[in-house]
Symmetry: C2
Subunit: 168 residues, 2 copies
């Protein structure tokens, strides 16, 4: 079982957008370059985030991406769901309805006990991710960076941030 790598990149991208507030953003190029990931694939993730309403975009010259909601209102589950889709990892193929002792489909109204068990575990996973907000990630990262590195980041921000004021 392996998670879509795009989830990692999308989460890093959101972490990078977080300190900018609602009125500033970064272009796709900047987001891709910052972490050295291929631009077209980064675009795919950002578009998924955009569709899910996690980031908003503005096009044309000086366009880019900005967070669409407060950092306390974006959970890791939101991001994972947006990029990785809504399907559960365990997908019941109803093999109980096959073979010499197959259950007739009339008796399969209740979900297979095995599928139900895995679904409960995935619900626990989901709830854990729901409890982790972008704000917690950002403050954790900030707490570990040293002064020099923060300087680098600030300089990079100043060179790349684009204005994306929210219009009423």
């Amino acid at each position: 079982m392996r998670m879509n790598k795009g989830v990692e990149w999308a989460t890093h991208a959101c972490t990078l957008l977080a300190p900018l507030g609602p009125d500033k953003g970064l272009s796709l190029t900047a987001l891709a370059d910052y972490h050295g990931v291929p631009q077209p694939y980064m675009a795919k993730q950002m578009q998924a985030l955009s569709k899910a309403g996690i980031v908003r975009t503005s096009r044309g010259k000086s366009g880019g991406y900005a967070l669409a909601r407060p950092v306390d209102d974006i959970s890791l589950w939101d991001i994972k769901q947006a990029v990785d889709g809504p399907e559960p990892a365990f997908r019941c193929t109803e093999i109980r309805q096959q073979g010499p002792c197959a259950l007739p489909s009339a008796e399969c109204k209740t979900p297979c006990a095995i599928a139900a068990a895995f679904a409960r575990a995935e619900a626990a996973y989901r709830d854990a991710l729901r409890g982790i907000k972008l704000s917690a990630i950002v403050s954790d990262v900030a707490g570990h960076a040293d002064a020099k590195h923060i300087g680098d980041i600030v300089a990079w921000y100043q060179a790349h941030v684009t204005e994306m004021p929210v219009r009423p």
Copy 2:
């Protein structure tokens, strides 16, 4: 994110072996036929279970597979782990160490906050699966089967069970 389909088959196979107790088993052919899954692929899963000490095997004529431990001592996590391997779904690629503002590797002793967060969620998933024992699955399935179907299963068992006494 999609789970290895073999986990489903392996779990069903264990569920089928559970009522037989430690001294009786089923051949690979029987296990594969019961749920109508391809035999060579079923073999792969059973061998994984065997390596993990969840089932024991006996080779040669009248050989087969039997559970190696009491049904209360086998969790869904054990099975998932045996078939799907130990690697986490989220794998940090350390992209914080790449790009124009890359963190020097000296500062990356503590794990990336994002990776750590996903790891916590996977721990919740693991703990949930650990809490679900094969015994619970078996009794749940048994509770939902009707009398006629149970008759079918008993007849099938009688035709396919092989003796696999535990030798001291």
